[in-house]
């Protein structure tokens, strides 16, 4: 185990304790923090000061791209590349282009939502320093964790450790890099 630490991690038993601790950590001025819970906690966003994600904007533009793609494809096929007279209908018979364009809108927007979320989250990332703490396996089960990273400007080992211990956690762990 190297001497360099990724940060300090505190373990809590309940969601309420975690949110209270996260509030305290934010109020103390720490910024490079993160919380881990076995299910989504809405109050934690506020407590940690998580910024609202840009994902909905990306998904909107993904949908627009899909729509444009659908229209462009069908106009190209039936108006530009291979105009085909079927029963005297207009070449640019746009009402019948609506369903495929709609489906492509949904398809591209859906892809953007999923892969945009994974990309913004920096996943896939099978290895991360937090996994070095053996108790962290419980983060996907029943325990709640709060981490202050060593990269935080206000971080100093003894002070931060003392502060985290004052929040009433089950235990405070060193997280090796």
């Amino acid at each position: 185990m190297s001497d360099k630490l990724y940060g300090l991690m505190a373990e809590f038993d309940s969601a309420t304790e975690l949110v209270d601790a996260a509030n305290a950590v934010r109020e103390a001025g720490y910024t490079k923090t993160d919380a881990f819970s076995p299910f989504p906690l809405h109050d934690i966003d506020e407590a940690l000061g998580v910024k609202r994600s840009i994902l909905p904007v990306l998904v909107f533009f993904g949908g627009i791209t899909g729509l444009m793609l659908g229209i462009a494809l069908q106009v190209f096929v039936h108006y530009i590349d291979y105009p085909l007279n079927v029963g005297g209908r207009p070449y640019l018979s746009w009402p019948s282009f609506v369903p495929p364009s709609f489906e492509l809108t949904i398809l591209v927007a859906g892809f953007t939502a999923v892969f945009g979320m994974l990309f913004l989250n920096g996943l896939p990332r099978p290895y991360h320093p937090v996994f070095n703490v053996s108790r962290f396996a419980l983060a996907s089960r029943e325990k709640f964790f709060l981490i202050v990273e060593a990269a935080d400007p206000q971080y100093s080992y003894d002070e931060t450790r003392g502060f985290l211990e004052s929040l009433g956690p089950q235990e405070v762990f060193d997280v090796p890099e």
Binding site: T16, F39, L41, L48
Partner: protein, 482 residues
């Protein structure tokens, strides 16, 4: 809005029974997958399903070797079992998306413990459905150029003015988005299994497929947004899919197909058939795997009610079809209705359909039947048969006697029609059995949010709460966070 929602949520009965905490929820659902010993009944069920699936393999082999002449399709009944079965399967899939997307947007907490396998059911049903039109082309590898737009050596393109091409786009989008939705829901649960698995192989596999999920608050934030947006996208998608399937029929001129009521009537029928299939799967599953704490009697009652409501819409559709036929004053339409209901050779199919879809669901008005898992199971099977008969009635009775009596002909399926259909049922249950064995059948992290201890200062952490609505009350002048 918030107040209304709080009231709405407080009126719903508890969806988790028994004494549970985060740990026991994780164990109870995760152990079905992680326990080394596979229950004996799993082998029996899987074995039977797998054997039946061989009928599909055999039929497809013969079909590709000898062509679709092995089926009973003829002129004028060119669309027969393959399209009946296609519509039947794709309809079944719709309940999965309804449960996972529409009920999520409507704040229905009871979706939480049934959405996972309802979505799995959707995927497998769509896989079965897609086989039929593909194999109906006879040589699917030669059909690609008129199904998908790609620059081919012949320089021709698909005809986008045709509902059949709309269908290709709708069904392939539906399959893709359903897969994404299902997989995104699985990621946190796969992480749970990764952290709990003792076996190195499984730990590795679950680790790969959970993409290194660690439950960070920032990740959850984006995760919920993505999930909610997917639900919002899936809702119009699912309505469009069966509407487009119905346009395959109603855009044509054939009496009995050319009806404006088709899109809503097909969508209601799809949800009706889908809930019947969800009940058929749920009722044995919750007994075999002892999941009654999560899939409570309330869940079954709700599904019964949805089945009754959608069933009544479908019955209204039958009534309207008959009314339109008469009101059109077109001799072909009037003849079609008479032919379908009492004069034609398939009149008994129509009455079987009314018995299965119209009469059987009336029992659901009574508490005694709604609250009995046994009767719900029986009614669901009857409804599944009824929905198959509905597609038979629409397709075969309309085609076999159309405009010119000189082109009338009878249709009867061959043994290959039957073996292909039964084979897909085997294939479907094979996939269901594999899913039950290797993946968590109930969404573990969503069930955790239902527990009272998940509340922070009394504030419920519903997964279905719109994250886009969360109010940010903290002072923006706080240290900016990266």
């Amino acid at each position: 809005m918030r107040d209304l929602k709080e009231i709405q949520l407080s009126m719903q009965p508890p969806m988790v029974q028994g004494d549970h905490n985060y740990g026991t929820v994780s164990d109870k659902i995760g152990d079905v997958t992680l326990k080394r010993r596979t229950p004996f009944h799993w082998f029996i069920g899987f074995g039977i399903a797998f054997m039946i699936a061989q009928a599909l393999l055999f039929t497809v082999t013969v079909l590709l070797a000898r062509g679709i002449g092995i089926w009973g399709n003829n002129q004028p009944v060119g669309w027969a079992f393959d399209i009946i079965n296609f519509v039947w399967w794709i309809g079944i899939g719709h309940a999965g998306t309804l449960i996972s997307a529409i009920l999520l947007l409507l704040n229905q907490k009871w979706r939480t413990s049934i959405n996972r396998f309802a979505e799995a059911m959707t995927l497998f049903a769509v896989a079965c459905a897609a086989m039929f039109p593909l194999l109906h082309t006879g040589r699917p590898w030669l059909a690609a150029y008129w199904l998908f737009p790609y620059p081919n050596t012949m320089g021709v393109w698909p005809q986008f003015r045709s509902p059949l091409i709309w269908d290709v786009f709708a069904v392939s989008t539906y399959a893709t988005i359903s897969l994404l939705f299902w997989y995104v829901g699985l990621i946190p649960d796969l992480a749970t299994l990764r952290d709990r698995a003792k076996d190195k192989k499984f730990k590795f596999l679950y680790g790969i497929f959970s993409w290194g999920w660690r439950g960070s608050a920032r990740h959850w934030h984006r995760y919920e947004i993505a999930y909610l947006l997917l639900a919002g996208l899936s809702t119009p998608l699912v309505l469009s899919v069966h509407s487009i399937v119905s346009l395959d029929f109603s855009v044509s001129q054939v009496p009995g197909w050319h009806a404006t009521i088709f899109p809503p009537y097909f969508v209601a029928g799809a949800i009706f058939a889908g809930f019947a299939m969800v009940l058929i799967l749920t009722i044995p599953l919750r007994v075999w795997y002892n999941m009654k704490d999560f899939i409570t009697d309330t869940h079954l009652i709700y599904m019964g009610k949805v089945m009754l409501a959608t069933g009544l819409i479908v019955v209204y559709g039958y009534a309207m079809e008959a009314f339109f036929g008469w009101y059109s004053a077109s001799q072909y339409e009037v003849f079609m209705i008479k032919n379908r209901i009492w004069e034609g050779p398939y009149w008994y199919m129509y009455w079987l359909l009314i018995l299965c879809n119209g009469i059987s669901i009336q029992f659901l008005w009574f508490k005694r039947f709604r609250e009995s898992a046994f009767w719900l199971f029986i009614i669901s099977i009857v409804v599944s048969i009824g929905m198959w008969l509905e597609r038979f009635v629409i397709i075969v009775t309309s085609l076999n006697r159309d405009f010119l009596p000189s082109s009338w002909a009878m249709y009867s399926p061959t043994v290959f029609d039957l073996s292909m259909f039964i084979g897909t049922i085997g294939f479907f249950f094979t996939l269901i059995y594999l899913f039950v064995r290797f993946l968590p059948i109930i969404s573990i992290f969503e069930v955790r949010t239902l527990l009272p201890e998940a509340n922070v200062h009394g504030h419920q952490q519903d997964f279905d709460e719109s994250v886009l609505e969360v109010e940010y009350t903290y002072d923006r002048t706080d240290p900016p966070n990266k």
